[in-house]
Symmetry: D2
Subunit: 363 residues, 4 copies
């Protein structure tokens, strides 16, 4: 079916890990918007493998070529199309994936769903590589949002059971949300970050992997963005974020902790402030009835540990119908949540910007 | 915008709490399917206020009239339209909601978004009443799924900090998932249920409210349902479930707990079983790469505590621009998660059935 | 599948001729718009059977009840839902339609498509009755367009081979397009109208039927409405108009006559007029590249002769697999194009208003 | 907005005439389908300028590169993405188009709609070049349809007021519909074709252009494809065909001629034939109630004369606000309908195949 999200800022993602290229088509960007391509490239670079110990040593070039939609860096009203060339040669070694599914990956379910026709090399259309075009679209969405005073940023809130410092639910601004993304290791508190890196390294030394949580915030949202029922901010952001591989949970504001609170604690009361209504707290994470309140939108995504580990695992030979043991090789991130930080920003930005456009039709 | 979800089994919900009626239009149901209207009514009754201590004492009739799409209880290929009459008379008392927003509700954001034109009575289109038509569509989806061997059920996994017994991630079947829904209080373990009711009652006695978690499972899914990227099972189910008022978090399988696990623990290995590939565990909650694995689909929704409490709260008078104190009256559930159990089933069923139809186009 | 059209002003139609009711759900109407319900009723009345010789003598009540979306006649931002009760009792006489398909109707194709589950009474979901809810949505769209200075009207351009006077392609205004609709017989030139009525009556006396052409115009459109490729004004209007039963052709501007013209004749040159660019002609019918030019949008729809005639026709008995002769009874319009005039306006208005909303996202 | 059509076989077109490339993304193709790339290239070649007198002498290479969705020529279940490189260097000469709109083109309306940000070079996103990616998608759709026994073909039914021989409405098969496309000049009767070419040449010698009509047929359709109301075959095919530049009218079966017929003439009666129901005629053009009857689907598209002519025309200088005279240069087709023949096939195939997939969900 469609690998597409959004109605007004509509993003379609194509490509497989070892096809000629991966990319996106973004329809609906208003004409006349200047896109800062250097800023976009810097954003894409945050996602690319870095050679650092918490990352894979694979090389991936993420420099997109724009096939359409931009003229001298300005949107022209036609669909924006961007493609990133895949460098890796298609290898026949991947055929083993048809026979021996890797635990935690989609190999088996894709084999059944597509009857063996799926592209298995490098994970095909399920590959984490496909987060690169999502970041192209999301990076553009971030710029378009910033133009309207809305800033999206994220940090690695938790990794390998080590927690980062937290953002308060109120009072954070553009600088707060952007700061972690400027660091090599995207955290608020560098000491926490160092502890995380140690824990990740320890797992890596074992040939194992670890999970994490990415927290993302959008600040500066006006009041009134989002729709009731199925096109609210939670619905849209969750749908986008669950499109990132390895995400197993999404929560807003207090999230699952809200389930253990009393209404008298969780409700966000109102008081006048400088002549305008203001919230005394923001347990709602910036969203009521699916609609933005003007307070920071706070969302958290839970990432399972990287499925590709080097420890031997049980698998089966689908062709022969017998048990086999599988030991993977190659270069894999020990904690995908680290490089997923900009991807969560991208997903959030895509969803929010689509609803910002929608809101022009409210009255 | 659209209060609609789904591509093939497409559900549009209309109505406000005090409009003439609320209802849904469901497009795309294959023709020739018999709907058991008694079973549907029993499902709707699970959602309706029951007069029990954990529920509001409001009376709501949830008997739908089918305006189209069914002939003698069999789908005829035309859109199915159902409406439930709203009995409550429109009261002018609700005008106060325009001036004095209730904390935790959408009053304020709707006032800004719609410029005062929104229907405020009883919460308008944001009202929990709108979960009734979602249950009509979901109840039908449940029957259509059951016809194909897929059974959806849910239980109140947590309420007022008291936990129910848990479903194991593997080995549960139709009877397991259906059993809680047959009880007045929808839990697995009645002793836990009794403790929950006590805790809810305690909060109610304080004029306060509590939150909870609903866990829902779909068993009997074939392998291969769902699409990569943005139309996977997690995306679709999350989008539907976040359409239920008060939901602040959604997780699958191990959910947020997966973030604290190692890959060697979280991965679900394969072994042959009776000549077919089988999973040794189901930490993935039945979903890999957005696609069903055949194992139980397990999802959890976090419900914030009911926003309507009787304790005095800070609010503002939007017209006069000054602080006021607000004390609500009326009849409100002290824990919305209880009555939300069938609604979560409905949302899950709507999303899953849509993808079951989608899968007919795979090859 | 979906009986739905439009992205922003999204109209879903439900019901069958003999179901409890027929109606529509319209999502996306901006909040705060006042709908003149008397004007809407007058528009619906134009479509209803009138008892006049060119019309069926069936009685149809077209008074909608609004279930949601309006509060005191003002749109409230929630989906608008309207239903019209079907008065006719479901008759078992219609079962004959399952066995003996009426030539020109969808009886046979529906029997095959839906395997016999389709609602046959009165034509089911294929019935011309379903143009009533389209007129509810279209009547509302007309009012919303008029609020912005865009006026939609239509006349019976041709019936039973008799032509009405024509609108010039330029220089017509709101009064021109609205005038025919105020007459009992919707033509520009009443003498032509009288000749049409005679010709229709002659066919009716023979137990036969005739076809016609409805011409519709939208004046006052600003420049820039519509999108290139598949969401242009022609695409949207054609998709809507072909949703009216019996339409077999749609053309814009010079239409099929343009195929026989030279570029030097058909092109619409530019000249300055009162300091602004103006068109010297309007062969394009108000649309270039799918986008409005500001000139009158002119569209024509060809209606085949009513399929229900009283002359004996060849049919088959599907159950027994043998030839039979079919003689219909009942009350049928001898020329559906007459009562279709407001329906074409409705379809055009729905399509145009959706694109008017879309255009708010251009820059 | 979206340059996209289709729900199941969903085609998105991107690129501008002078952007780096033009292309399409096609989502929803079932996995495991082999695409004959040579056959596709031959189909694309039918559209490309040929250097013949009825065609422009511009050179266009239409060899697509597949970025995703195909593995060794077999669909893999991921979106198919194809791009054609644009060879022409972006020229600054096109800036004149911003100031001096060409009559019959979208220059002026695009300038207003996009505020000057639109890509003007070569017509930008409005260029006839964009029919190349439509032909990629349509060529693939044709092959997928042929695999199921449905064959789509077209001929130039009329050009410069000269008519080709006509297809009968019944009794045509795959060979009939494919034959014209194999000829350099796509007609049924070569003598008629020669007369057309003379008439086109005569206009060209005058620096003028002519219009035409393309007739397209789809044979071998099963009964039951298409939906009532807005997703019927007429709606879908018309929406696609009006996406081809220069189309001003679309009709099915008898089309506008049906408006002048009696019901007794136009209805298609039934008789048994070899034990199955059969149609005695096919005035309906293969469609009843939006649904295929099994008879040939016959559609006609009216093409206006090419807007680019060499005769001097009135225009304006938008910047200075004064009248100017415009004389175009360059290489332009004197009759776009000729090269549009395969494009109409492509549009028809895209629409029909989408509904063929839809029909899998009927029961």
């Amino acid at each position: 079916m469609a690998s597409r999200i959004g109605t007004h800022f509509s993003v379609t993602i194509f490509g497989q890990s070892h096809s000629a290229g991966i990319g996106c088509v973004v329809e609906g960007i208003p004409a006349g918007k200047r896109i800062d391509l250097d800023e976009l490239q810097a954003f894409l670079a945050r996602r690319a493998p870095s050679g650092m110990p918490w990352s894979t040593s694979r090389k991936e070039s993420d420099v997109p070529e724009f096939l359409g939609g931009l003229v001298d860096g300005v949107t022209c009203g036609a669909p924006l199309a961007a493609v990133i060339r895949n460098a890796d040669a298609r290898s026949s070694d991947y055929e083993a994936l048809r026979r021996t599914p890797r635990p935690g990956h989609a190999d088996y379910v894709a084999e059944v769903k597509f009857g063996g026709a799926q592209d298995v090399a490098g994970g095909g259309h399920f590959s984490g590589r496909l987060t690169a075009p999502l970041c192209i679209a999301g990076g553009i969405a971030k710029q378009l949002l910033a133009e309207q005073g809305v800033f999206v940023g994220a940090h690695l809130a938790r990794a390998a059971c080590v927690a980062d410092a937290a953002w308060p639910l109120q009072g954070i601004g553009p600088e707060d949300v952007s700061a972690p993304g400027r660091k090599p290791f995207p955290v608020i508190d560098d000491a926490c970050g160092a502890a995380m890196q140690d824990a990740i390294a320890a797992a890596r030394a074992q040939g194992d992997s670890v999970g994490g949580v990415v927290e993302c915030a959008a600040v500066g949202l006006p009041v009134g963005i989002g729709e009731p029922l199925f096109d609210g901010l939670e619905n849209a952001v969750a749908r986008a974020v669950f499109g990132i591989p390895a995400v197993k949970g999404v929560e807003f504001g207090r999230g699952f902790a809200a389930a253990d609170m009393h209404g008298s604690q969780h409700n966000d009361p109102y008081r006048m402030d400088a002549g305008a209504p203001a919230f005394e707290s923001n347990n709602a994470g910036g969203i009521l009835g699916g609609i933005s309140t003007g307070e920071p939108l706070i969302v958290r995504a839970a990432f399972k540990p990287t499925s590709s580990i080097f420890i031997e695992q049980h698998s089966v030979d689908l062709k022969d119908g017998r048990d086999v043991d599988l030991a993977l090789e190659g270069r894999h991130d020990p904690c995908v949540a680290v490089r997923a930080v900009p991807v969560v920003e991208a997903a959030c930005a895509v969803a929010v910007y689509d609803l910002m456009l929608e809101a022009r039709l409210d009255r």
